[in-house]
Structure formats: structure tokens, C-alpha cells
């Protein structure tokens, strides 16, 4: 299966839409264990991404598109999620630099680079109650599925399920990174907002690919 540049743009549009729809929900999650801005931040950022992508040259490759998304997020989201998601998209763009179509392998590379970017930037690991708790299991599920010759749409579905499980798991643990960590044990019982936005983005990707 081949993913075109147009497909990538569709995925980004879908992410913009899903973040908009979940703006209040993400903010509410953040108000329980953070500072009540995650949905607002993400929506501001992806709104800017939408504006920005409308202005980039027709012939931009997928790498450039993803890097533009990343740079736009860095300069508009702010907070912790800005540099983290920004770095993730910039690294993803680097991983597929120059390409105008993506293979299954490229998708794995994108996940890998994004995850590594987040880890480099934020120094967190799985179990710290962050976005990594959604992304890492999703990445692993995707990789394993594709290694087992499962088709991309199905592999992405499994990634979404893994992200969802990871996201739900954040409810049971206490935070060790980010603002929520100051709450210590009090953060237990609440889903992490960043893990939720990550899950939503992965789901947006899967939903678009599934419809192709």
C-alpha cells in the first residue's frame, strides 16, 4: 500500500478536526492534573498548521510538509506539548525527507523518529504518564504487525488499540514528568491529556488510511 502526499494532507486535516472537536475534553483532562490548557494549546497549534499548509508551495514533498507542521507547532503551541509534538513532526519529516509517497516501512520510520524525538526532547519514558504511554505501544504494535505481514490498515487499527490501552493505563499510574508530576499520587485516577491527544492523532491517521 502506498500513501500519497494528498493522503498525508488528509490525515493532517483530520487531526486538525479531531483536535478541534476534543479541545474542551483535552482541556478538562488537563485541568484535573495540569493547568487546563492542553486542548487550547493543541487547537491553537493545529489551527495555525492548517493556515500554514495552505501557503506552502504546491510541489513540497511529504518530508517538508511534516517539518512545516512541526515548526508551526513549535512556534504556536507553547507549553510542554509544543516542543514535544513539534520535535516529533520535525523528526518525522526528516525521516521521510524528499519523499512524495510513503511505504509501510516509511510509516514505521515516521513513528520511530517521532517517538525518539519526544524522548530526546522530554527525557521521559514509558510509565511516566505522558504521551509516550500512547505512542510507544502504538509504534510497537504497528511495527510488529507489519513484520508479521499484516496490511497497513489493520496494522494501524492494532496501533490505535495499543495507543488506547496505553492511554487508559495512564489513569492507573502517577505522573513522573510534566506538570502532573507535582501532584504525586493525586495524579492517579486521571487519564493523561497528552496521552489522549496522541491517541486521537493516531486514531485520525488510522481512520483516514482505512477509508483509502
Amino acid at each position: 500500500m502506498v500513501i500519497t502526499k494528498e493522503d498525508v494532507l488528509k490525515v493532517i486535516d483530520k487531526i486538525v478536526e479531531v483536535i478541534r472537536e476534543n479541545k474542551e475534553y483535552l482541556t478538562e483532562l488537563d485541568s484535573a492534573i495540569g493547568d487546563a490548557d492542553h486542548g487550547i494549546n493543541m487547537d491553537r497549534g493545529f489551527e495555525a498548521v492548517k493556515q500554514k499548509l495552505a501557503t506552502i508551495p504546491e510541489n513540497s514533498d511529504i518530508g517538508t510538509i511534516l517539518k512545516t507542521v512541526g515548526m508551526t507547532l513549535v512556534s504556536t503551541v507553547g507549553g510542554a506539548s509544543g516542543p514535544l509534538y513539534g520535535t516529533a513532526f520535525m523528526r518525522a519529516g526528516q525521516a521521510v525527507q524528499g519523499k512524495t509517497e510513503l511505504t509501510e516501512e516509511d510509516v514505521v520510520k515516521i513513528f520511530e523518529a517521532a517517538l525518539q524525538g519526544i524522548k530526546d526532547r522530554g527525557k521521559a519514558q514509558a510509565g511516566d504518564k505522558t504521551m509516550i504511554d500512547s505512542i510507544e505501544p502504538a509504534y510497537k504494535a504497528l511495527k510488529e504487525s507489519l513484520e508479521n505481514n499484516i496490511a497497513l490498515p489493520e496494522a494501524l487499527k492494532r496501533a490505535v488499540n495499543a495507543a488506547k490501552e496505553g492511554m487508559e493505563y495512564t489513569k492507573n499510574i502517577s505522573a513522573r514528568k510534566g506538570r502532573a508530576s507535582y501532584l504525586g499520587e493525586r495524579s492517579i485516577g486521571h487519564i493523561d491529556p497528552g496521552a489522549t491527544s496522541s491517541y486521537l492523532m493516531i486514531k485520525a491517521l488510522a481512520d483516514v488510511i482505512n477509508l483509502l
Binding site: D35, V74, G78, G79, A80, G178, G184
Partner: protein
Amino acid sequence: MKKLINNPESVVKEMIEGLLAAHPNYLRKLENINVIVRKDAPVEGKVGLVSGGGSGHEPAHAGYVGYGMLDAACPGEVFTSPTPDQMYEAIKAVNSGKGVLLIIKNYTGDVMNFEMAREMAQAEGIEVDQVIVNDDVAVENSTWTQGRRGIAGTVFVHKIAGAKAQEGASLKEVKRVAEKVIANVRSMGMALTPCTVPAAGKPSFTLQEDEMEIGIGIHGEPGTHREKIKHVDEIVEHLMDKIINDLPYKSGDEVAVMINGMGGTPLMELYIANRKVAEILKEKDIKVYKTYVGEFMTSLEMSGFSITLLKLDEELKALLDAKADTPAFKQL
């Protein structure tokens, strides 16, 4: 949500406009980006000091831009770290060739965004260094987290590093005194009421009429625990206990005290709190060199306060006493 605003989405923009209209002799804004700099930036022969953080902490940080304190402040969205391009433009605007020091409050977002900006500026050959303020003693198991938060104690870092920079000291020297302040400053806060991020429209937590939050940060987030409300003297005792034992501050030490209102606390109550702070310090034979009572690092309209102690030596005393002239911090 009862607020004196127009559109929740444009509070930061409109606040900056009002700020610039109020203080044209102190401040100017860089074009097309939310960076507030000293009117006369870059100041020749002076290390540039850049700070910033989410908005909602007014007068921090733009209120401290001026003679003897900061050269630039980067206001982010409400309670949201500013973005690297803001800090990057700030660094460029205040660098007179002597280098730039970033004063960062220890929050994941602030640290990461400032670090990205530093990387960008360094790539252009600008000498940039940073200090991270982490004065909040409320969070105990900080080994498991990214460490303590930076709260009101940051204002002492601005004041003292600012005085040193104003003297014409080198980046290394300015950083040294900033780190000396950080090593000797401790704070802790509490809240009687939550605050509401304008764009969120709802309070970030709720408290019953007889409850208070202890160990809060400055972003409207809940604290370390919740209790039945007590007499302010008991609250002060609890906060002072944590603060004093942390450094620890000892008999014979000299300190500066800051009683910081969170935004909605009347000055009367801050003075009543200071009464007990002074009493405890006297009992412990810790000498109060100087006291600041007011709103220095707020959380929108939150009602509550924080106590900050800074242990002083002769160098810090002289720098603390130095002249400062900014919109929100003036010292003759």
C-alpha cells in the same frame, strides 16, 4: 466566569497593548511577536537578561523589564510556556555582545522551549547561558520528577542577577549570582480559591467553602494536598516549617522575605500573614533584612499566597539593595 475581558482568546494580546500604553517610557514590543524589551535594549556593555513564561502571572514577567532587572520578557498564552521563536527574538534583541542569560522557571514546557531557543541563538554565535529556578519546596519526591517548580522566588533572581548585570558584570558573573540566589531561595504557597483560565471558562479545580489547597503552583493547578481551612497563623506555621527546614535556614542567618499574593488576595491579609512570618523568624533568631509584601508572581485571580525566604550574604544584600526601576518593581 466573571472577568474584565473582551474575548477570552485575545486576553494576552490586549493585555500587552494595555501594558505598552501604560509604560511607554519603560517598554517596547518587538514587531510581529510577543516579546517585551527594555525601551533602550540592547544596553551597551551589559549582559542581557531574558525571562518569560505563561501569561497570568502579572506583573511577572514584563513588569520586571527595566533598569536593574530584566532586558526582555516573553509572555506566552495564559499559563502556557512561550514558544522558542519568542525567546530567540528576545535573545537577539537584548544581546549587546556581552551575552545573554535566560532565567527559566523549572517547568517542563518552559525548560524545553527555552532550550530550543538557546540552541537556535547559539547556532548564530550568540553567547547564551541559562539558570533554572526551582524554589518551590511543596513537592517533595522531586527525584522522581523533573525537580521542583519555580515560583515567586524567581523575582529575587531577576532582581539580583539584574543588579549584577546592570553593574556591567560578565555573563559568567551574572550567572554565578543568579545561581547563588537559586541555591538560597525557597518558597511555598497555598490557595483559598482556584482561578479560571479565560479560554477554558471553568475553574481549574473546585474547593468547598471550608477547604484550602496547600502546596499549589502558579498555574491554577491543584496543590499537594487539600485541607480544612485554618487560621492564617497555622497556615503560615506549616509553610514556614517546610521552607525553613528545607535549606535549612538557621539561627543567625539573614534573609529577605517575600509575601506574595496570588492575584485575588487583599493586601490586608498578606500583612496579617507577614506578622506571623516575622514572629516565627524572630523566634528562630533568623534576621529579616528586607521584606516585600504584594503581588509579584500571581495566578490570575486566585486567592492565596506564597512565602519566599532568601538567605543573604553581603554580596546578595548589596545587589538586592541596588536601584531598580521597572513598571512593577522600583527601588530607590
